[in-house]
């Protein structure tokens, strides 16, 4: 057997759609996978098996395409890597405040990584370092293996507070990224129109942010960030200001948008349920100065529905496991805040 036949072809197609890489890397991986698959199938066939059955067995041995894509991603260089990062700030009083201490974190290509920790543990600082908005005091920050020297074009950042420009209407706000990157107005507006549709704001193009609800402003912010097609998406408690219903809707929409792009995500939140519902991996940060206390794999099936996944038996187990770690840190942080008040 020389040519790949239908069963192998299907498998490879599914694998292709799951791989979170660029075109060139995808082709390399697919060629490699195809070689292995064909080799396995030929060995089976040589032992006297029916050709179709041989192919079926070969693909079964390879495992689910989704899991395989994840293994490939984990073998490659991580999309984001922080090595021994420390961040100190100079307070107005002249003393140094350590926000992060000796933090190690790596996020694989296409991975959705949630970072949880008590308030003031340096979660937002972590994102500022990855984005290149702030340099680390010590240690290294790498994106795709390259040290970060400034704001990278590959990065998208959804801020905790409203960051849409109040003097631009929704269309201009969403079109800002392409416009700043030199796309002409007509093309930028076409792109923006498309993204406005994807986040469900069609009909509100001419509205200014102050005329929109908090949830709609967040959708505009999401479109504004995603229009640049960032390979690395940083989100800083993006939904914390929304009511519970809107929040669940937005979380589901985020998962849909993300699964279409396969970007690598760092999602900062203080809500453990949200973290588990969304992420492939949850990282717990200690009370400040922040450092990694533990990382937990979330092996819940995808595509997920955020409002239903909470009832999955595995969800409760993971929650229990992470909460045991997180609780101590939250208590430390709470005791400290009480001391400051008294």
């Amino acid at each position: 057997m020389t040519a790949t036949t239908q069963i192998l072809r299907d498998y490879l197609d599914r694998l292709e759609s799951e791989l979170p890489f660029g075109k060139k890397e995808k082709r390399e991986i697919l060629l490699e996978a195809e070689d292995h698959l064909i080799e396995d199938a030929q060995r089976d066939e040589a032992s006297g098996m029916d050709a179709d059955e041989a192919e079926r067995r070969a693909t079964r041995r390879f495992g689910e395409p989704q899991a395989l894509a994840r293994r490939f991603a984990e073998e490659r260089a991580p999309a984001i890597e922080l090595r021994g990062v420390t961040k100190r700030f100079l307070t107005p009083a002249g003393t140094a405040y350590t926000a992060l201490r000796d933090l190690d974190l790596s996020v694989h290509v296409g991975e959705f990584c949630a970072v949880v920790g008590p308030t003031g543990c340096g979660k937002s600082t972590t994102l500022a370092l990855i984005s290149g908005l702030e340099p680390p005091s010590e240690g290294e920050v790498l994106l795709d293996g390259e040290p970060v020297t400034g704001v990278s074009r590959a990065v998208g950042y959804v801020f905790q507070v409203d960051a849409v420009f109040p003097w631009k209407n929704v269309l201009d706000n969403v079109a800002t990224g392409p416009r700043l990157r030199g796309v002409d107005r007509a093309q930028a507006n076409r792109l923006a129109q498309d993204w406005i549709g994807r986040v469900g704001l069609t009909g509100f193009e001419r509205y200014y942010p102050h005329q929109l609800s908090g949830g709609m402003r967040k959708r505009a912010a999401l479109a504004q960030t995603l229009i640049n097609e960032p390979r690395i998406l940083l989100m800083d408690e993006p939904f914390s200001a929304l009511d519970v219903q809107t929040r669940t809707l937005m979380e589901n929409e985020l998962l849909q948008l993300w699964s279409a792009t396969k970007s690598s995500v760092v999602f900062v939140t203080h809500d453990l349920e949200e973290a588990i519902a969304l992420a492939d991996r949850v990282v717990v940060i200690t009370a400040g100065p922040g450092t990694v206390k533990g990382t937990y794999r979330v092996d819940l099936p995808r595509p997920r529905n955020v409002s239903e996944i909470r009832f999955h038996p595995e969800f409760a187990r993971i929650y229990q496991e992470i909460w045991n770690d997180l609780r101590d840190e939250v208590l430390v942080s709470y005791e400290r805040s009480k001391r400051v008040v008294s």
């Binding site: 420009f165 003097w167 994807r198 986040v199 704001l201 009909g203 102050h210 005329q211 809107t246 929409e253």
Partner: protein, 295 residues
């Protein structure tokens, strides 16, 4: 693909107004009529008392020789309109003052924005010039008028210069503050979206500072008018300021009041123009300020 698809209809256009909505609208109109009626009433009361108090001449409650009287002010205005002032036709005096104020305003605003933005953006410049600017601002700048008349002369440019000096500081401080107060999150967002340093200025810093600058324009046209009139007062050939000075030196209080009335009209017109401009330029701002008046 969105779960919460928004309809294309404007969410602010509600259904037809109900009867209670109409009743509320009627109540609002009634109230507006009442307010305007009372406003006219206040003017009539003040002017009437003034006129009545001065009707007995020297023996009355108010001596019209010192305080003038409304009918006298009106007839003075009529005389000026018909026969012109001592300095020539009235329209020429108004036009001269307006020209000086407008030129001073434009130049002062331009310089104020440029310097305010530059010092707001460049920390070193701000640190170096801060003490000088504070010192200059603390000085009563009207006295500079004398210097300008000596160096530039009796023409309009000495008045323009005084107006520029007065306007500059108001706009400067607002532009400076506006640039400094730009939301850091918005700046960071623009940087992430791909803005260069120059694009940061045009896309974020200038629009954000604009509301501060526009707020300063309201007061600064008033200052421009002060500069022009005080400059004329110190020495000029034409202008409302010199008309006031002449009325003062001939013990003509009606003339002083009549000139003040003209200045007030000019200032109010300018104020309307400024509000119109502001609403045109920053239509993105919530209009709660104007709404409050009608509640």
């Amino acid at each position: 693909m969105s779960v919460l698809s928004a309809s294309s209809r404007s969410p602010f256009v509600g259904p037809e107004p109900t009867s209670s909505d109409r009743a509320r609208a009627q109540a609002r109109t009634k109230r507006r009529v009442l307010v305007n009626g009372l406003r006219v009433g206040v003017a009539v009361l003040v002017l009437g008392l003034w006129e009545l108090g001065t009707s007995q001449g020297e023996a009355g409650l108010i001596d019209p020789f010192f305080y003038g009287r409304p009918s006298g002010i009106a007839s003075q205005l009529w005389t000026w309109i018909q026969n012109g002032t001592a300095q020539g036709p009235l329209w020429l005096q108004v036009a001269t003052t307006l020209e000086e104020a407008a030129l001073g305003f434009l130049i002062g605003v331009g310089l104020g924005i440029v310097f305010g933005a530059a010092l707001g953006r460049i920390r070193l410049l701000a640190d170096v010039f801060a003490p000088y600017i504070k010192a200059l601002n603390a000085m009563p700048r009207v006295v500079l008028g004398s210097i300008f008349i000596i160096t530039i002369g009796y023409g309009i440019w000495s008045k323009v210069a005084l107006a520029v000096v007065l306007v500059f500081f108001v706009v400067f401080f607002n532009a400076f503050q506006g640039v400094r107060e730009v939301d850091r999150v918005l700046l960071n967002n623009a940087r992430i979206l791909g803005a260069s340093e120059r694009q940061l200025t045009t896309h974020v810093i200038f629009p954000s500072a604009l509301s501060w600058i526009l707020a300063s324009l309201h007061t600064s046209f008033g200052f421009a008018l002060v500069g022009a009139v005080v400059g004329e007062y110190l020495g000029a050939i034409h202008g409302i300021g010199i008309v006031i000075a002449t009325a003062q030196s001939t013990f003509n209080p009606n003339g002083v009041f009549a000139a003040m009335l003209i200045l007030a009209l000019v200032a109010v017109t300018a104020e309307f123009a400024m509000t119109w401009l502001e609403n045109r330029l920053i239509k993105w701002r919530p209009n709660s300020f104007t709404d409050i008046q009608h509640i």
